[in-house]
């Protein structure tokens, strides 16, 4: 339950959920990691809350209840980031708010939390959150390394390479390359897991 969403049922590259933020915040590793962890926290706790309430929620306002729970959790996460990680809060800007519409959340709430016990739902949330974080970190790793020659803001490509004529690929930090990097990750992932290939 915890491991499955990390590769085989990865929410981003297999189920195609939560793509928006995966692409937008991955120009650098640090915001990508914070974003991933924020989503993990929100999805885990939203799963637990909905699972606890699952027998009391009136069917007609199910979606609204889910949205309210998620939105409330996202606001709490945002307030904490603003208080304890101000710089990252500034970099993530509107994308924190967009966690609300991250399809991973609604997807897991509908598909899992509504029908399972709180503890299982918690693990499911953590697993999906980590699967999401993993992809974000992989994308951000390549984009920051090739785009600015840094990792977590520290320069890793030695100066002698720059002197020999190496240049950072500015396009890596721009939007298009994010998409292409994801495309390549899917390519690699599906070459390994042949059963996922589309006909």
């Amino acid at each position: 339950m915890l491991v499955n969403p990390i590769s085989k049922n990865n929410p981003v590259i297999v189920l195609v959920l939560g793509i928006c933020s995966a692409l937008a915040v991955t120009a650098q590793l640090k915001p990508a990691l914070v974003m991933g962890l924020s989503v993990t926290v929100v999805v885990a706790f939203a799963n637990v809350i909905i699972s606890l309430l699952r027998n009391t929620i009136p069917a007609r306002i199910r979606i609204i209840v889910q949205l309210v729970v998620v939105a409330a959790l996202v606001i709490i996460v945002e307030q904490f980031l603003k208080a304890y990680a101000y710089e990252v809060w500034g970099q993530l800007s509107v994308y924190i708010g967009l966690i609300i519409t991250n399809c991973i959340l609604m997807g897991r709430l509908e598909a899992f939390a509504l029908g399972n016990r709180p503890f299982d739902s918690f693990l499911d949330g953590i697993g999906n959150g980590l699967g999401y974080t993993l992809i974000l970190v992989i994308i951000a790793f390549f984009r920051e390394l090739l785009g600015s020659g840094k990792l977590f803001g520290f320069q890793v490509i030695p100066d002698c390479l720059y002197e020999a004529g190496y240049v950072n690929n500015g396009l890596m930090i721009m939007p298009p390359m994010a998409l292409i990097v994801v495309g390549c990750i899917i390519w690699v992932h599906r070459s390994i897991n042949k059963d996922l290939q589309e006909k």
Partner: protein
Amino acid sequence: MEALNLFIKSIFIDNMVFAYFLGMCSYLAVSKTVKTSVGLGIAVTFVLLITVPVNYLLDTYVLKEGALVWLLGEDAASIDLSFLSFILFIALIASMTQIVEMVVERFTPALYAQLGIFLPLIAVNCAILGASLFMQQRAFPNVGHATVYGLGSGLGWMVAIVTLAAVREHLKYNKIPAPLKGLGITFILVGLMSMAFMGFMGIKL
């Protein structure tokens, strides 16, 4: 003039999909044929055109610091409810889509038959919430600008999804390495389209 400028910019330069990756989930899922993507594009534009200005009014007259002065008098100048904006925006978007769905169903059944299945999807489309959050961040001077921005963003999204669908329809006839088929090639394709749209960046208005 300024509004026209904003309109063009929000369609081409600050395109929802290519510059900010908003509404990606449904963008990838529904772009298999041109016909359905036109339907979803219209629905998104329609909802954006309504929710952005309404959220603008909500932000200006209820949420912002000091926004409640008109209702509660000078004492309210220090009330700042902006921490509630996410939850109210999303609630408003959800109820607006519901209302739009009912109105469309009641008055234009033909349109409903085409858009109906997409409307419930739209409440959780990040392009819709995203546009409202950008509207708040960019602090537009009046509701007119907010409306123009909503319309422009919607049309930009529609342009993006229809063009992608057109390309994907032809993709069927091409030989693509098996692991890349479907999702993989679509991502790369969107990346290339996004690069093309970067060409609009230097545009001077």
